[in-house]
């Protein structure tokens, strides 16, 4: 019997007034009972509209059916046919614009909570799995992966399972990409990311940190060293600024810098040697997940007031809906249809305020969203002591500059065919390095696609 409730089972969460002072996970996960009750809301539709909206086409009704049978490992097996990182995607995917957007139950009421069920299955598996990973039989071929974000990790995982000798080269001192330096602990506990990396290592993947490819070794040197193919999963880590007057004042951060200090360098812990400003009133410019994460970190560091400044309206915000709701519950203020024009400093060059203008929505632009235009004479100034710019990132030009013949487009994104092959033989790429800043699931999907193509390429060659 299907559960005909119009509402999803609510996700148990930490109380907003408590959690906005700590860095522990906000969403606590379904209990078994809640998962079973939610799974019963799935109608198991024949035409599976949800699957069509999943970037990697997970057989969603099938895994939910397994939950109903209480065969959680069976459900996990179905998900992992398409996804390598279910515990992560279950937490960070924008389900409301993907699978859940087409759920039939969403026509009248709320869609099935697919993301929460995915997380339940993955967490169940992680808590119960016992068999240590079996090392695959080596096939004698070596491949290199540049970057250890979700894209690189996935590509490495698929290739090691096929018997390849896989080495990941990571520029930072810790593997995980945005999952460790960007997305905060309270949204994605770092133990989960570490577990994925430990599993890969147990399978035989070598992870070499502190290796900036293009500096210490070039892609061509990797190829000459016996790596038969290389995957570039180097992300889009270069922060953009708005070139506003006052942007170099003390107290203006890129979201990348702020989040890196907090997450990667653990500046929120007392024993960290990395400093961070503990501001009173913080403005975060931008409306994506990055802006939400920065704002919520600033609040947790003790800011009395944190404001999001976004030039379009709430409806156009690219952040996951849940993150926007959580931010609002935690007391983050939203100033939409607002755009900064200048950051003001005091005599010691610390930030003391920001000048903004009000915007209104005009005709749709090339992204299909209505273009914000300035309302004349709407200028106003607010006092504050910290500004975080979260207006986007682009791919780092380092690999392009140091790899002869590696084609990039006008945005600096690496050009590939549908299998991830770049303009260079044996060099593949995927994830944010190719698409520009996007999502974990797309980066993961690209890593899978390329792994398949790399395997075919190496087999055809030998």
């Amino acid at each position: 019997m299907a559960n005909m409730s119009l509402k999803k089972n609510e996700m148990p969460v930490q109380d907003p007034k408590v959690r906005n002072h700590n860095f522990e996970e906000v969403a606590l996960g379904y209990t078994e009972e809640q998962a079973l009750d939610e799974a019963a809301r799935c109608l198991n539709c024949k035409n599976k509209p949800c699957v069509g909206k999943c970037p990697v086409a997970i057989d969603i009704p099938a895994f939910i059916a397994k939950i109903r049978e209480k065969d959680y490992e069976g459900a996990y097996e179905i998900i992992t046919r398409q996804s390598s990182l279910p515990a992560i995607c279950g937490r960070v995917c924008p389900q409301e614009t993907q699978c859940e957007s087409k759920c039939v139950r969403g026509i009248k009421g709320e869609p099935v909570a697919i993301g929460r069920l995915e997380r339940f299955v993955a967490d169940y598996h992680n808590a119960h799995a016992k068999a240590p990973a079996q090392k695959p039989v080596p096939n004698g071929h070596k491949v290199a992966i540049v970057g250890s974000g979700p894209s690189g990790l996935t590509c490495a995982g698929d290739l090691v399972k096929l018997g390849y000798d896989v080495t990941i080269f990571e520029a930072l001192h810790l593997a995980g990409g945005v999952l460790v330096y960007g997305i905060p602990e309270f949204r994605l506990p770092k133990t989960i990311v570490q577990k994925e990396i430990d599993t890969l290592k147990a399978l035989g993947v070598k992870v070499e940190t502190n290796m900036v490819i293009g500096k210490v070794l070039s892609v061509d040197e990797l190829l000459a060293d016996g790596f038969e193919a290389v995957y570039l999963g180097s992300g889009a880590g270069l922060p953009r600024f708005m070139n506003l007057p006052g942007e170099n004042l003390k107290g203006v951060y890129s979201a990348n810098e702020f989040l890196t200090r907090v997450n990667l360098m653990k500046a929120y812990q007392d024993n960290s040697e990395t400093p961070i400003q503990h501001a009173h009133h913080v403005a975060v410019v931008g409306g994506g997940n990055v802006a939400m994460d920065a704002a919520r970190c600033a609040k947790r560091l003790g800011a009395e007031k944190v404001s999001i400044i976004y030039r379009r309206s709430l409806e156009e915000m690219p952040a996951r809906k849940e993150e926007v709701e959580h931010a609002m519950e935690e007391g983050i203020e939203f100033h939409v249809l607002t755009n900064p024009t200048e950051i003001l400093g005091d005599e010691h060059k610390f930030v003391k305020g920001i000048t903004c203008v009000k915007m209104e929505l005009g005709e749709p632009d090339e992204s299909g969203r209505r273009r914000p235009v300035v309302i004349e004479g709407s200028e106003f100034t607010v006092d504050l002591d910290c500004v975080i710019m979260a207006i986007g990132t682009s791919p780092n030009p380092l690999l392009h500059n140091t790899t002869e013949g590696l084609e990039v487009n006008s945005h600096g994104c690496i050009v590939t065919d549908e299998n991830g092959l770049t303009s260079r033989t044996a060099v593949y790429a995927g994830g944010d390095a190719v698409t520009g800043a996007a999502t974990v699931i797309l980066a993961m999907g690209a890593g899978k696609q390329a792994a398949k193509a790399m395997d075919e390429y190496i087999r055809s060659k030998n």
Binding site: V216, N256, M265
Partner: protein, 280 residues
């Protein structure tokens, strides 16, 4: 792991270390830097590559004990290992084609100026080195500089060694005596570089400075190292650390460098207390 093969105090607050890092040694060029972490919870700090030995596979770093991390670093011994050591980062100095150069080093900045002077000497350029220290006890690398310089001026603030005065005084004298330089390369405290640039601008001599702002990743990811150069925002870790000194906004750079001073002072005191406890 990155083992410390040699440790040598150069003066009471400046230490030299040779680190086993063959891959980096193979690629390193003057003007580039590394980023290191002493331990697992340590901060990432940039240090310029003071020398490298491609055959031995070593990188030499020279650091002044100014904060918690350099204090901890200085407590390591030969045979100990650094947790992380990444490089070579940044763009190498452009030295080819220069015929006559004044290399100006101030304080621990001399550690960075020395490999530049050495490389210029190897390339066959005439090198005039002007090095300045606060007092006699702080002098480093004197004989090394002498070995690669056609002319050498030693300056000290208090006159306790060499000539009394600032490096700018010596540079001014040389220029006014008719020396013609293709380029001046100045490396030292921001305030020193600022005044060297003011002087060379008057005389229209191209001047390159090496900037060392606060950094985290050193790969262009955070923007914390940004500077204004010729009215444009530049990331010192990838676009530099060398820049045209006449275009650098030094006042802004000095302000930005002071961002975490109170925090650093506190951490340094805590670390010193910790070591004092351990030494007892």
């Amino acid at each position: 792991m990155f083992q410390i093969l040699k440790k040598q105090p150069l003066n009471p607050t400046v230490t030299l270390m040779e680190i086993d890092a063959p891959l980096i040694a193979k690629k390193a060029e003057p003007g580039q830097f590394i980023i290191l972490r002493v331990n697992e919870n340590g901060e990432r700090i940039p240090l310029t590559i003071a020398d490298y030995d491609r055959e031995k596979g070593t990188i030499t770093i020279i650091f002044q004990i100014v904060g918690a991390t350099t204090e901890e670093l200085n407590h390591l011994k030969e045979g100990d290992c650094l947790h992380d050591f990444v490089g070579p980062l940044g763009t190498p100095s452009h030295l080819e084609g220069l015929k006559k150069v004044a290399v100006v080093g101030g304080g621990v900045g001399c550690a960075i100026a020395y490999p530049v002077a050495k490389k210029l000497h190897e390339l066959g350029a005439t090198v005039h080195s002007i090095v300045g220290f606060r007092n006699k006890d702080l002098v480093i690398l004197e004989s090394q500089f002498k070995a690669v310089s056609d002319k050498m001026c030693m300056m000290s603030d208090d006159g306790s060694y060499g000539e009394k005065g600032l490096v700018t005084d010596a540079l001014k004298k040389l220029i006014e005596s008719g020396e013609q330089y293709d380029e001046v390369i100045a490396i030292g405290p921001l305030i020193m570089m600022k005044f060297v640039c003011a002087l060379t601008k008057e005389h229209n001599i191209k001047t390159v400075v090496s900037m060392n702002p606060i950094m985290i990743d050193g790969t262009g990811m955070c923007g914390g190292c940004r500077l204004t150069v010729g009215g444009k925002t530049k990331f010192a870790c990838v676009d530099g650390p060398d820049f045209d000194g006449h275009l650098v906004d030094f006042d802004e750079a000095m302000e930005r460098a002071s961002m975490y001073k109170p925090f650093e002072r506190k951490k340094h005191e805590d670390t010193c207390n910790l070591f004092r406890g351990a030494d007892r």
